[in-house]
């Protein structure tokens, strides 16, 4: 199907939803402030404190075993000092996206959705490091938000999306291809339409739209390739929405692999087998992080 037609259909579907969750203005402002090199931790903390929901979740995330503070962190300012300014962007954006969908129910189980997303974030960051990509944090956030469109489909197109999920159980095709076939659009176009509404920066929009075909990316094909590969690895190593999708891939035939090898030729020597086994070992950290975020206060 034509990409433009799929985009038009996505715009219509997203536009038709009156109660689409919003990203707090505070999050957008934090992102803008962080572009200012002279910004101080105090200024950021003051701004974040105006959003209680965001603050609560940031604190919960920080005290989770993944960040492993030696003692409990009770003030936001200490938290931000502990983490450093670079991580605030990550926290502001991810906590807002999570808050936007918290408590909603849809065809997908929210915990396994976030486990996949955070898993892709984590793996994207590792791959970014391996190839010497300049912004590791951006790779991490990109991983976390890449499948946003799925949450929309799951919540607002529940029944047709259930049919898609049923369809892939008996047909060996990728979820994204089943969406195109049955819905006339995919989570990529839907996600892009949402990202535009939420004024996401261009490179994140690019990842959401092109993480399944990084070669077509407009802004940052390398970032899209990183997320694509992280997505593939997570899907075959257990972070796959609870076994929702059966995929297989041959690394040599993946466009993302060529893009990244071009970027960093030493990637060809990577011990992919060990990488997979280490990824298995990291899964408990990811599930722990997600359950910490959703634990009742």
């Amino acid at each position: 199907m034509d990409k433009n037609q799929m985009m038009e259909r996505a715009e219509i579907l997203v536009g038709a939803v009156d109660d689409l969750p919003t990203i707090p203005i505070v999050a957008t402002k934090v992102l803008q402030l962080l572009d200012d090199p002279d910004i101080s931790v105090e200024e950021i903390a003051d701004l974040m404190l105006t959003d209680q929901v965001m603050t609560a979740r940031v604190m919960k995330l920080l005290n989770s075993p993944v960040y492993k503070p030696t003692q409990e962190i009770t003030s936001l300012k200490r938290a931000l000092v502990y983490l450093g300014l670079r991580h605030i962007r990550e926290l502001a954006l991810t906590t807002s996206v999570i808050n936007a969908f918290d408590g909603t129910s849809g065809a997908l189980e929210l915990n396994s959705f976030w486990e996949h997303s955070f898993g892709v974030g984590m793996v994207a960051k590792i791959i970014a490091q391996k190839i010497g990509y300049q912004d590791l944090e951006k790779a991490y956030i990109s991983g976390i938000i890449h499948d946003l469109g799925e949450v929309f489909l799951s919540n607002f197109l529940r029944d047709p999306f259930m049919e898609v999920l049923e369809y892939i159980k008996t047909h060996p095709i990728k979820l994204v291809d089943a969406e195109e076939k049955l819905l006339g659009t995919t989570h990529c176009e839907i996600g892009l339409s949402m990202a535009h509404k939420w004024n996401f920066p261009d490179s994140y929009c690019d990842v959401i739209a092109y993480h399944h075909n990084p070669g077509q990316a407009k802004v940052d094909p390398v970032l899209c390739a990183i997320v694509n590969l992280a997505d593939l690895f997570c899907t075959v190593r257990g972070l796959n929405y609870g076994g929702r999708e059966w995929i297989s891939f041959n690394l040599c035939e993946e466009e993302a692999w060529s893009i990244l090898k071009n970027e960093s030729p030493k990637l060809a020597q990577m011990d992919v087998e060990r990488f997979c086994y280490e990824l298995d070992d990291a899964i408990p950290d990811v599930t722990e992080l997600v359950s910490a975020m959703f634990a009742p206060s």
Binding site: P172, V236, R237, R274
Partner: protein, 275 residues
């Protein structure tokens, strides 16, 4: 004996670099218990003493004993479930399609360290289930080989204990296994697809005659070989595969740095090596 996370990682890296087997963190407790046995057997007082000995020139002998302990040297039916699922869902249908186009309806599978035959017979059961559909009118040949004559004889006999058959799905068990006084006897329907022979993987003159396989399995054996032998044996496997064939090693094993001709194909819970 409990060892620190750092010591665990050190030992894991050592085993991985020499043997090509990765120890998942979830298996730390298991590794510790097996380590205790080996420390008692060698008289090593502390873990550090044991590790130093393992790294020393006489360590290669001890490493074999340790690998024996940690691979448990036991086998059972339907052992590597992700691998079997990949074969059934994807790799076998793809292969059948290719061969159908060529008009060549013959399937050859090799279990290259077949031990008492569980892996080879598992394949036979899975393929038998496809006899009425995907593999209708196909010739199926499954070959099991092992260096140890005793286990080859056991494999030919096809009689198992409860441990070996515990993972067989009920539907298969009802069809292909008969219980008699605590023994589990394999149906002749399954046995007739499989032949077993003694074979030493080091013996080049024999290896070159193991031709034209579609799938080759070799689990928990290459970990005992040094890199040069490993490369040589894997090259034989590569040569012995059909152009579209697959080679599989055991769970947690890796061929990284052993052969650069195979392409790694990933599927849920595992990977295989494609020619």
């Amino acid at each position: 004996m409990a060892i620190s996370d750092k010591d665990f990682e050190q030992l894991r890296d050592f085993i991985y670099n020499i043997c090509g087997m990765y120890f998942h963190t979830t298996k730390k407790y298991f590794l510790e218990s097996r380590l205790t046995r080996r420390m008692e057997a060698t008289g090593a007082k502390t873990y550090q003493d044991y590790f130093l000995m393992l790294k020393s020139p006489r360590g290669s002998e001890e490493l074999k004993f340790l690998m024996d302990e940690i691979t448990t040297n036991e086998t059972y039916f339907f052992r590597n479930v992700p691998q079997l699922a990949a074969l059934e869902n994807k790799l076998l249908p793809e292969l059948v399609e290719i061969k159908n186009k060529m008009g060549f309806r013959k399937l050859r599978i090799w279990s290259a360290a077949s031990s008492s035959g569980e892996e080879a017979y598992t394949m036979a059961m899975i393929l038998l289930e496809k006899r009425a559909s995907l593999l209708k009118d196909w010739i199926i040949e499954i070959v099991g080989t092992d260096i140890n004559e005793t286990v080859v004889a056991q494999a030919k006999e096809g009689i198992y204990n409860a441990y070996s058959v515990r993972n067989i799905p009920d539907a298969y068990k009802r069809k292909y296994i008969r219980e008699d006084n605590g023994k589990f006897i394999l149906s002749p329907d399954v046995k007739k697809f499989v032949t077993f022979n003694k074979l030493n993987l080091y013996e080049d003159s024999k290896m070159i005659f193991m031709k034209s396989f579609d799938f080759i399995f070799c689990a928990n054996v290459l970990i005992y070989f040094d890199t040069a032998s490993k490369s040589k044996v894997v090259q034989h496997f590569y040569n012995n595969l059909q152009p579209y064939g697959y080679f599989f090693v055991g769970q947690s094993e890796s061929l990284h740095g052993v052969n650069d001709k195979f392409k790694t194909v990933h599927f849920p819970g595992g990977f295989g090596y494609k020619k």
